[in-house]
Symmetry: C2
Subunit: 367 residues, 2 copies
DNA sequence: CTGTTAGCGCCTTCAA
DNA sequence: TTGAAGGCGCTAACAG
């Protein structure tokens, strides 16, 4: 058990300057120190430690011992400079606190690091705008050997992608000529809507257009397109008044449903009997708004989301699932393929199939 | 609007090998090319571009133009090697898909990157065990100028922290002699429990001991200690049978409440009238379990969580809040202070005060 | 204010 | 199988 100093309200803890410990001065030595200790040349140390062939077993062992003893670890900068590779990959994402992105990153992480790459995180945040060239491609190109782009590339001018000059693998959006993991968002919208149609709904709304789609993030628009298609295929004329711009947050879903309610009241019509939400988070917001107003789900209102968020089952939320962590893993595979396979590895796009998880926020309409 | 190729189900996209564009060969040139183009020496380019003093305005402008024209960006590795600083900070966290950690990281990110540092992400994941020296301190020390440790340091042997040789700032746990952002977890447990006591509860359970506490992650244990103290101060003998080991996930909370139910049934007693959960996620799980069994909240059962998770309001969850994103920001400040202030900056610990957010999962007991 | 001179620590030919 | 020499691209210390 580790000591915890601040039982009450203390504030500043004294600094005991760590005394340099000449004995076990970890990480102090460079490759030449190791070489000296092992009685070989630096070149041999380099070869031995990296497992390159052409080093006798005994020499390798001796080098390992020396390195271990000195706590030697090669300087990343030095070796990157010498080799022209950084052993790092960049991860571009709009946010990381939205569950979807965090889960994708987590899915990718293991493979990435197990191949010896570090992961540089670049949350684009509010800067993800149309103008703000994200993290300046030029800067990235010298810093990483590859890039994982989550939902961002579409917002970059294509030039900026060119400037990258390192493999880029996308998740959630696709750039022609680049590897990527993709779910067919149109189909997601289609499936969600069909599920509701199949239950007998005919007045179905859509919560989730994304204002940011203005600059190329087409996920929401695609899902909406699927929704429209499904309706049309069922011979139903989509009513644009039933579509809300919500963004991706819970609050958007809440406000969206509220707004629909107002609209309906003002126009003297009733609320649609069901809604497709662009994400589970938006769906959760809608469910909350419904509950606050005493609208029963699914008797009075059905709601279906997208993602199968870790917390969705708590809401009994019916949803179109996508294997999020697996998408991350797949993206990592594609990226490694590009980085290590070199020009030999032709870019490829992997399609992920969405699933349907039926819980109990959807049911037949009331009448 | 960017082109999206895969309308239907296409799979592999052809690779158009990006043709080297000799005209605007971005990122191709080194500092010497820029120097040549600007008609100055490399040293001057370096000074000019980094905004160092002692460069005439006209020269600086010329250099900027040349650099811009060539799309020049300094190589991070080269400059790191030459300066002996990496301009990167490492972020150690058990996971990133748990909301708390993602939010802290997001909170820290802006300040970190605005000061010119990259963020290296090291999720410890399952490896966070007692033995597995996390990310090997020695490796980190050559790779980053500072480390942000989220809940991890306590699990590292202190030696390993020493070996780091770079500033380390902790969040959520404290190491003597190091800077850190801290919430008083004992007090959190105390406040949560007092809230329930204040409502008139006397049989109060605790959902949330963490099996991993075994190796030093004391947050859960501390909150539990606060719970025990509050009960004792109220003259109530804490009943160990009312404490569950749940870990941090939703599922733990669900299982924990279920187990309490079984225990109560087997012993022929009733469930406690209220529970303190170690986190909002655990509380959500417990609420779910209660709902599944028709237990009404808060009439039959009160539940209080900790964190004020982004989604907590959807559950009307009463909770002890901690300003999570601000913790991240503060930690970033402390870290920058250490990294840039050098030895002058003495380590300090910042206490964050928890708050109480009363919603409606807590209320007076039934009888 | 600017240029010259040495490295930073490692990797990689090329010889031995 | 091993060593010696040179360079990766940039920065810092010193001259001028």
């Amino acid at each position: 058990m580790s000591p915890r100093a601040l039982g009450g309200g203390g504030s500043a803890t004294g600094s005991t300057a760590l005394p340099p410990d000449p004995d076990r001065m970890v990480g102090a030595g460079g490759i030449v120190e190791v070489a000296a200790l092992a009685g070989v040349s630096p070149a041999t140390v380099s070869r031995a430690l990296r497992g390159l062939p052409g080093v006798s077993a005994s020499t390798r062992a001796a080098v390992r011992v020396a390195a271990e003893q000195l706590g030697y670890v090669a300087s990343a900068s030095a070796s990157a400079l010498a080799r022209g590779r950084t052993s790092a990959v960049g991860v571009l994402a709009p946010w990381i606190s939205r569950w979807f992105f965090a889960a994708v990153i987590e899915g990718a992480q293991e493979l990435i690091t197990s191949h010896g790459y570090d992961m540089l995180l670049y949350p684009l945040g509010a800067n993800a705008g149309p103008d703000a060239g994200p993290v300046d491609a030029r800067a990235l190109h010298k810093r990483v050997d590859g890039v994982l782009g989550l939902n961002v590339p579409a917002s970059m001018p294509t030039d900026s992608l060119r400037d990258l000059r390192v493999p880029l693998v996308t998740v959630g959006s696709t750039v022609p000529g680049l590897s990527g993991v993709q779910v067919d968002d149109v189909r997601i919208g289609l499936e969600a809507t069909r599920h509701l149609l199949g239950l007998g709904h005919s007045r179905i709304g859509f919560l989730g257009l994304d204002p940011d789609d203005l600059y190329g993030f087409t996920v929401a628009a695609d899902r909406h397109r699927g929704y429209v298609q499904a309706l049309e295929q069922a011979g139903i004329e989509p009513d644009p008044r039933l579509t809300e711009v919500t963004g991706w947050a819970v609050q958007g879903g809440e406000a969206g449903l509220g707004h629909q309610l107002e609209l309906a009241a003002a126009a003297g019509r009733t609320l649609p009997t069901a809604f497709v939400a662009v994400s589970d988070e938006v769906a959760m917001g809608a469910l909350y708004a419904a509950r606050c107003r005493g609208i029963r789900v699914p008797q009075d209102l059905s709601v279906i989301g997208v993602d199968d968020h870790d917390l969705s089952y708590l809401f009994d939320l019916t949803t179109v699932s996508q294997p999020v962590r697996r998408q991350g893993r797949l993206a990592a595979e594609l990226l490694l393929e590009q980085m290590e396979g070199g020009a030999a590895a032709r870019p490829r796009v992997v399609q992920i199939d969405p699933g349907l998880v039926v819980r109990s926020t959807t049911g037949p309409p009331r009448d």
